[in-house]
Symmetry: D4
Subunit: 255 residues, 8 copies
Amino acid sequence: MKEDNLKKLLEQVKDGGLTVEEACRELKDLPFKDMGFANVDNHRELRTGFPEVIYCQGKTHEQIRDIMTELVKSGGNIMATRATKGDYDLVKKQLPQAEFFETARIIAVIQGTGIKLKTVAVVTAGTADIPVAEEAAVTAEILGNEVSRIYDVGVAGIHRLLSKIDKIREADVVIVVAGMEGALASVVGGLVDVPVIAVPTSIGYGANLGGVSALLSMLNSCANGVGVVNIDNGFGAAYLASVINKGKSSQKDED
Amino acid sequence: MKEDNLKKLLEQVKDGGLTVEEACRELKDLPFKDMGFANVDNHRELRTGFPEVIYCQGKTHEQIRDIMTELVKSGGNIMATRATKGDYDLVKKQLPQAEFFETARIIAVIQGTGIKLKTVAVVTAGTADIPVAEEAAVTAEILGNEVSRIYDVGVAGIHRLLSKIDKIREADVVIVVAGMEGALASVVGGLVDVPVIAVPTSIGYGANLGGVSALLSMLNSCANGVGVVNIDNGFGAAYLASVINKGKSSQKDED
Amino acid sequence: MKEDNLKKLLEQVKDGGLTVEEACRELKDLPFKDMGFANVDNHRELRTGFPEVIYCQGKTHEQIRDIMTELVKSGGNIMATRATKGDYDLVKKQLPQAEFFETARIIAVIQGTGIKLKTVAVVTAGTADIPVAEEAAVTAEILGNEVSRIYDVGVAGIHRLLSKIDKIREADVVIVVAGMEGALASVVGGLVDVPVIAVPTSIGYGANLGGVSALLSMLNSCANGVGVVNIDNGFGAAYLASVINKGKSSQKDED
Amino acid sequence: MKEDNLKKLLEQVKDGGLTVEEACRELKDLPFKDMGFANVDNHRELRTGFPEVIYCQGKTHEQIRDIMTELVKSGGNIMATRATKGDYDLVKKQLPQAEFFETARIIAVIQGTGIKLKTVAVVTAGTADIPVAEEAAVTAEILGNEVSRIYDVGVAGIHRLLSKIDKIREADVVIVVAGMEGALASVVGGLVDVPVIAVPTSIGYGANLGGVSALLSMLNSCANGVGVVNIDNGFGAAYLASVINKGKSSQKDED
Amino acid sequence: MKEDNLKKLLEQVKDGGLTVEEACRELKDLPFKDMGFANVDNHRELRTGFPEVIYCQGKTHEQIRDIMTELVKSGGNIMATRATKGDYDLVKKQLPQAEFFETARIIAVIQGTGIKLKTVAVVTAGTADIPVAEEAAVTAEILGNEVSRIYDVGVAGIHRLLSKIDKIREADVVIVVAGMEGALASVVGGLVDVPVIAVPTSIGYGANLGGVSALLSMLNSCANGVGVVNIDNGFGAAYLASVINKGKSSQKDED
Amino acid sequence: MKEDNLKKLLEQVKDGGLTVEEACRELKDLPFKDMGFANVDNHRELRTGFPEVIYCQGKTHEQIRDIMTELVKSGGNIMATRATKGDYDLVKKQLPQAEFFETARIIAVIQGTGIKLKTVAVVTAGTADIPVAEEAAVTAEILGNEVSRIYDVGVAGIHRLLSKIDKIREADVVIVVAGMEGALASVVGGLVDVPVIAVPTSIGYGANLGGVSALLSMLNSCANGVGVVNIDNGFGAAYLASVINKGKSSQKDED
Amino acid sequence: MKEDNLKKLLEQVKDGGLTVEEACRELKDLPFKDMGFANVDNHRELRTGFPEVIYCQGKTHEQIRDIMTELVKSGGNIMATRATKGDYDLVKKQLPQAEFFETARIIAVIQGTGIKLKTVAVVTAGTADIPVAEEAAVTAEILGNEVSRIYDVGVAGIHRLLSKIDKIREADVVIVVAGMEGALASVVGGLVDVPVIAVPTSIGYGANLGGVSALLSMLNSCANGVGVVNIDNGFGAAYLASVINKGKSSQKDED
Amino acid sequence: MKEDNLKKLLEQVKDGGLTVEEACRELKDLPFKDMGFANVDNHRELRTGFPEVIYCQGKTHEQIRDIMTELVKSGGNIMATRATKGDYDLVKKQLPQAEFFETARIIAVIQGTGIKLKTVAVVTAGTADIPVAEEAAVTAEILGNEVSRIYDVGVAGIHRLLSKIDKIREADVVIVVAGMEGALASVVGGLVDVPVIAVPTSIGYGANLGGVSALLSMLNSCANGVGVVNIDNGFGAAYLASVINKGKSSQKDED
């Protein structure tokens, strides 16, 4: 419930348009989402241009199509992650404007025309990390960031990384995507002065334990300024990067 | 090696003040830290006001004292984390201006007078998480942030958190410090639109596995915009928050 | 061996209808289930209306059909969990009255007409948790509870939960079904004053470790009044809820 | 904020005793705990006779003394778990009526005179499990339950358990406390028709992994009607048992 | 090299039939298996009637057929474990006398006519444990034991076990096969005075961790006289049981 | 209740000395331990000469003394494992005949004079495994076995083991005690034709994980005829060895 | 950038052929790989005859074909590991000289004619370890080593190993490939005086945990001179063996 | 038994000095260590100058002193690892020439005067890794290598490493000692063309899991030519490095 509405209700009580009992019931019954903090939550998403996001895994083609169709009415960018070709085929029938980013496994309906103000560098250790990196890169683009991709610069050939370091340093946030031993996050973390978001991937074999090896490496990084997200969670990294790049909403309001 | 120095050297070659062989040797022998990227690294720290940080664990009282004495000459803020009272007693003899933040286990020499531009909220689930939270809070303050502390607002009594949510929302970055099941990170992550840095703590017993339980919770957070640091790593969280709040150096230069 | 039977046997000894040796042998050879405590066990199930339950995994279609056909003679409700469509197809040929709850993966033959006295609320964090939740909900209904379903109220949008809290509070037992970080159990546990049974699900990816992440969260819950069952064990949660709602049998007898 | 208070406020608005702005501010500024759901939370505790509980680990003697002194004013039963003799010595100076249950590691101030209506059986596998069992037993007593203790009836000598089973069956809830392989929970679960709360203990050595072995056993119990709490969490088990025995508050209101 | 052969060789040296150099070379070049301890090893197998065993997993149909064809020449019992129907189909073409124990996944050629002197009881907790139990039972039979099968007597209904205990007690060795929480090993271990070999199975779901839960239970058994083999290793348990039942070879020789 | 007693009771019913109601009550109320199987359990221990065993860890000096004093009355061998010097000092005051095996951490009162019929070989990989080995060796001796100790024959110098293999082969059961990688169990298992009981020890460092490394090795042993007990559980291995060596009780009865 | 080039550039500056600004830009913009250490890196591979290696997993047939086609121009040996028949079929169309080592899963184009100076022995515990062993053996051959294969000499029959030990001792480096309990590495490590590289394999079942059991064994080996590579990493072991056999490049240069 | 002895024995048989039966018994009873391969083992150590090594942990001061006193008679270098000051104090009384390397925790008696032919570089990520590094460095020196120490060049400041890379490249083997995320092994592995032995250390906190984090990183290293030893096992790394540097003994013999 917005302050205006609250005032109006109280005016009605004062004016007798509402009995005390009626007002009491209304105030008591108001769902919490209407009491201020939840609405803010919704408005924030509209205001910041961050799209609603559908996590497709475990949902049927039909559910995904229906949710997208509903969300598209909001007029903002809509995206669905971990989508399959099958998901897309059905969505496209309903929403011909939907795009499919195959490597990133993302279906998107781009309706906003965000001015890209800040940059996210997405860096991978190997080529096998690219699907996770693309999930991050495409998400970051949809969420309004300029994205630069620097792929296959793992630490086993440190010169590959060093030759690209200037490009990486141009970013406002760096997302490091690495499997195996995940050492890239530490090395990049020591070379840049912006936030590094580390995404461990399940790439590797043997004792990589489905990505736990890279995850532990990144959590134990000897470099400062590194935050970690879940294994293979390219979307999560890009979302966090976008929140960082966006800055606090209230600041924007002051502009 | 700064560009100016490089130019000067080349001028000398041109002028004959340096033979080709002498210049060649000098260029070849230059430590990499002088070849541009490393100097930037050091200068960045001075420029951004980020202090050198000493991790005390595994170092002797004498080593800590000596490193601090050396670093203090730089004129910036100096801090040592995971410090004991014994560490401090020896440091203080040499550096009487050193302060000891006992709960945070930090020794600091504050020499800069940073204008605090942005805010970090440090939020804890319980009172037992406070030492880790204080490490984060004191670090964030030394690194130039305004800090607001919101302690003991764990999710078992969600109203405690909701009553403080406005204060938390005023921050530019939120650090959530929680042990046991670490659920606070998810709940806060769903209530704010700024980056959330989650710090799992080793607080708990039984199947908390020394903090792994909270760590896994935070990595699997159903809320977006959450990055995780290592168990009990209050310093790391504050450092990352500071990097986020500081923004990209080059941008500042443009201002 | 029921007390009546025992009396009859002893009467026969007294009357000479049975020699001491014959009676001795009969008493000695009685299987333990006939010596009182096992019969009680069986009678309890008939008396309390709790159906025999078949766990289908690892059983053939034929075995399931045969066991159900046998059990249906008891006249009570019969259910089979973790059943497939294939299991059902064969069962239905023999028992046309059998129903299939597809999402819950339960085949049931409802023969009792239990008066539903108490309520179980089944609450999920996300939509992907619904199959496990339906296993719990359908089980609870078959076992004689009124069930209210409150789905997709995960903590990342705490207002969703808070807007449903009154409905949840109407239940006598609350089952919380959640994957990922499983934080919902703690938050619900702090908001209700009835027993909370937490069911971790294997929903999630990366470091959720097949549900272990949610399991650890729930075991380490900072809220009191929470008991945990195995990962994805919706049936087990509903059974425990039913035992709680039923109360001690001897009490019932006193009514 | 209770409904009466809300009515009074609205009456004041109607009567002009409060301007719309004043009422608006008051409603908006009310901490959430005053908006209905939090007050209920507090009142529930007073009403149900459940004491406030202090978890001593990680708190100083002084903190424990001060919190107990504050809570004792409520007039209810007050208890502090995981307390040491040192904690108690300081508390006793301030609160001479405080009792110390040494094996249970609980300090309590008993101020209520609860009528004990229902029973909790606390069953242990071995003698080494007794401290955890006593934490459960004493907690259950303070929370208003009749408690029967059946100790050292582990499954390696199943007759010990069977000879006590009638006593166990008299309880409304059974708490099973067991370390090592934790098999007792399954066996008891198969012998009673009331809820079983299983508490794994860290008793054992070698591959018991600090209680994880018993924890896994209990979660995988082949018996139905078993809920599990954290390792060594006797308090948590007793609290859950008490919530079960108390039944839903609203029901009580109807009595 | 049997003692006889050694004697013969030395006789030849004595007689001049072999030069010292020739004998030296022969003795030096003898593979270690011919130097006494390895031959004993092979002879032991023939003497004790223990068949050569082929572990099929990872071998092709052809390899299995060829090895069996080779081994069958020894005249003893031959068995292949973890065999598929496909393995059997090819073997049968070559060795029409081969039998296939489908549930046990064993192909066998029975050529010996062992007098069954001692008994192995194979006990399972549930019906899903039967494939592993059959691997044990069939192996034990082929290795010359009388086998009694007692299936589905898990501890959740302890009376089922107690009603069969006399039959179990008749065995010389008891193999307990159980998944889930594996409690059956402890209960049986407390009821018999012969060796108990515990086989954890991977039966279960959720936190059973592929059988690790039952494995830990069995290792931490509170009953004495229990030895554990690997998860699902029915063959290994039966082999160990057979070694126990056979007794030391040298003893037999003394008879 | 022994058969004699049962007959007597039934005679009394026949004779009218007991009414049907009285006999009924007595039969129904008989504790299960009196119904045959539990008494057998106790008698078995007396008959087989196996001592009662006290596990000292978690018991006070006084408790240990009192239990030993009570058990000593049985006239059999009495032993207490994991005992400290402090435990012994108090026991000795009461029972001057008690002996203390310091390395084995066992207090024993030897009252029987068992004829040692069979042999247990206790083999260790290193010298650091000796305390666990001594626990096994002393236990085996007290339980009536001849024991041969073969220490420090780890596989890194396989010739050490091979030079002792004849002595090992003389035993009826072999206990292999090894930490680190625990390979000794596999090698010994391949060299003997009697049961091998493997005891992993917590000896080692780094990734030995408190003995889990050796435990896994032994469970995965490529040799047949190997059973495993818990980490550092020398007592358990010796108990199992003794049960094997003793053979089935009923057999003895036939002798 | 080689020293010659640097000199030339500086000469140009001296001569005026390059302005200071031009030289400055060129020096500053030089990729690190041109500054000496990266070029050396590339040259080393050509010089030492070590082929470029493609890890096929996660790459498409087309990518593999294209990379191989590119690399083959270098004139050295080219190999692709973890290749499938499908990968090979496409590669062969483009590069008819390509060979496929099916068991080793390696595609190779042999263009060099390396003189094989040193020997690598590849030893396996069982036949199921052979695919990993072949990956090692074929890699070692391509990288210029003489390879001797000693397969199926696991420690359960130690005489098999001892009969081959002389052949193993002829090698300059020994690669031990073993699954299950991985004991072979320790035994071999104790028998040879050359470096042993241990490769744990995922062969086994139950508690072998996908090779972790063998991995832990090998890391905890009681033998000295053993280094470990990742589970199933036959390629990595052979590469390390080759680096050892090759010796330091600079030494060779001095020869 | 050396070939000479074997010949002599056979001559005696030929000459009748030994009956066939006597020779047979002698050949059969010869301990395996006398049959050639074991003696070689001992001789190898004397010949290669590798000292006997005592692992002190779990041994008493007296045991260490006595073993050293015994070994010192061999005339070679003697060393004891994981030694304490207390160990040394007692050893020094008996062997005044013994030296104590405090940081390395090594007691040594240097009796040989090995010509240092090859070099081992010991590289650490941080200062806290130095004790493990010193164990490696001192061991390598005692075993006859030239050692260069490059400490505190962790990857968070990659320029520190790059500035030292020439020195590292001069070594014949590189030992990388690193805790936390252990990334240094991968980076160094990509920069050198000699064998890299990676030693994970237990340095770190939180999710480093006692060194398992660094261990997994190193096993999953994306660089080739890296072998791993156990956590904190500086000695093991140095021993392996020495075996590599020594080369095959037989080769040396040919020189």
